[in-house]
């Protein structure tokens, strides 16, 4: 029995198989409509995350399975003080697979250690969010046909953004990746990541302004720059426009560049960009369902 705790739990070959399956689901959805008949997914969400939870529920429903669960800690037995270990032992009696989101880092791993059913980490604090990374990778592979040989721009809050860290860790396993980190000084990528890139000989540059590097990018991964992350209001006002993607900045980019965003966006991508064929962020949400469907089938070892 396998669980998914980190995007690195799967080898690149295993990821290829997972993404092939996701693409087949996209192409022939009817073939998979009853693949999980009689199976139950438990969504154990100790903190609210409507989008991720609905994506899992949609995935299981589209496979013909059913969903049980809770959507915040207050409506679960955690409110009465039950441990994660005890909860998963009980959930193992009720469901065939579990997607767990928890505000404490490592909680899904504790669950996996005691579980009799596969556990998927659906986000644990600021630590990991592997299904988001799988979604990002599937979107890139499906729309570009490969996961290697890209200049990847990551823009915004690169210090606290776990989706950014996970994506970097996942992409370094592929050949010919070069990173451009676009952020204010305060929100630069942590040292342990730049150290890892230096050790592995992976080229990267850190820049302040997005428009300076737009023409070089094959992929642009946008994240939100939050006002409260800045030391003072003055810096925020001075820098915030550098990290807002608008039609002008898009005019500097290549014709085939893709824009990704883990969503929800607030104002870091202007709505005028939404209709640009290079805007892939809503498509990404669709791929999120396909990759979760493929993951459920893979972890339940269901062949179609």
């Amino acid at each position: 029995m396998r669980h998914l705790m980190s995007p690195l739990d799967f080898t690149t070959e295993e990821l290829d198989r997972l993404f092939d399956l996701a693409n087949d689901i996209e192409k022939y959805p009817a073939k998979y409509a009853h693949a999980c008949d009689g199976k139950i997914l438990a969504t154990c969400f100790y903190e609210p995350s409507t989008r991720t939870r609905l994506s899992f529920e949609s995935a299981m429903t589209r496979l013909g399975g059913r969903v049980i669960g809770f959507s915040d800690a207050a409506s679960s037995s955690a409110a009465k003080g039950e441990s994660v270990s005890d909860t998963i032992r009980i959930i193992s009696c009720y469901a065939d697979i579990c997607a767990m989101r928890h505000f404490k880092e490592g909680a899904p791993m504790v669950a996996a250690e005691k579980s009799r059913i596969p556990v998927i980490n659906a986000g644990d604090g600021g630590h990991q969010h592997p299904t988001q990374t799988l979604t990002d990778l599937l979107t890139i592979r499906s729309m570009k046909g490969r996961l290697s040989h890209f200049t990847v721009g990551l823009c915004g809050d690169l210090k606290f953004g776990r989706t950014v860290h996970s994506l970097i860790n996942a992409l370094v396993r592929y050949e010919g990746i070069r990173f451009l980190f676009i952020s204010p000084e305060e929100l630069r990528v942590p040292d342990y990541i730049t150290d890892m890139l230096k050790n592995r000989g992976i080229p990267f540059e850190e820049v302040i302004r997005l428009e300076d590097v737009m023409p070089q990018l094959d992929l642009l991964y946008m994240t939100r720059v939050q006002k409260e992350r800045f030391f003072n209001e003055e810096d925020y006002v001075r820098l915030k426009d550098f990290y807002i993607l608008d039609r002008y900045k898009m005019s500097l980019a290549r014709e085939d560049m893709l824009v990704l965003h883990p969503l929800p966006r607030v104002n870091e991508i202007s709505v005028e960009v939404d209709d640009d064929p290079r805007a892939a962020y809503f498509k990404q949400a669709q791929y999120g369902v396909y990759v979760r469907m493929a993951l459920i089938l893979t972890l339940l070892e269901i062949q179609v």
């Binding site: 880092e105 909680a107 791993m109 504790v110 630590h127």
Partner: protein, 143 residues
């Protein structure tokens, strides 16, 4: 020069960095032992200038020596039988350390889950980096 007598059966931890012997005393739980223990602080050393030494008169196999390597893997462990050194043990960094050091990340599940041991895994042998098994927080030292 201070003289501390030989031990007959047991082990001697030599070449401890000066000042580190109390940390070892604490983490090996030597206070709970009913055996003779001698702590020698700031002994003169040709190699180190100053060093600490611990002499413990008990079977080495009753000790969890993983913690020693974590504190300082350059410590020399001499096994004593009949008052003579009969063996020297090499310290290597353990792959995993259970229940010795605590994760200090307040967002880690170890901070609330009942009965969950604190486990650290060796993430980078060259740089001697240990990370919490659950949240991957780096162990930054004893203090």
């Amino acid at each position: 020069m201070l003289n501390v007598g030989k031990i007959e059966e047991g082990f001697v931890l030599d070449h401890i960095k000066a000042g580190k012997s109390f940390a070892i005393y604490e983490h090996l739980h030597l206070d709970k032992l009913d055996y003779p223990v001698a702590i020698i602080k700031n002994a003169r050393s040709n190699k180190m200038g100053k060093k600490d030494i611990l002499k413990i008169e008990c079977d080495i196999n009753t000790m969890d020596l993983d913690v020693l390597a974590l504190i300082d893997h350059n410590i020399t462990v001499n096994i004593i039988k009949d008052g003579e050194i009969v063996d020297k043990k090499e310290l290597t960094l353990p792959k995993q350390i259970k229940g010795v050091i605590k994760c200090r990340n307040p967002r880690c599940i170890t901070s609330i889950e009942q009965g969950l041991p604190h486990i650290f895994v060796l993430a980078d042998e060259e740089k001697e980096v240990y990370r919490c098994k659950y949240c991957e927080e780096k162990f930054t030292g004893w203090n």
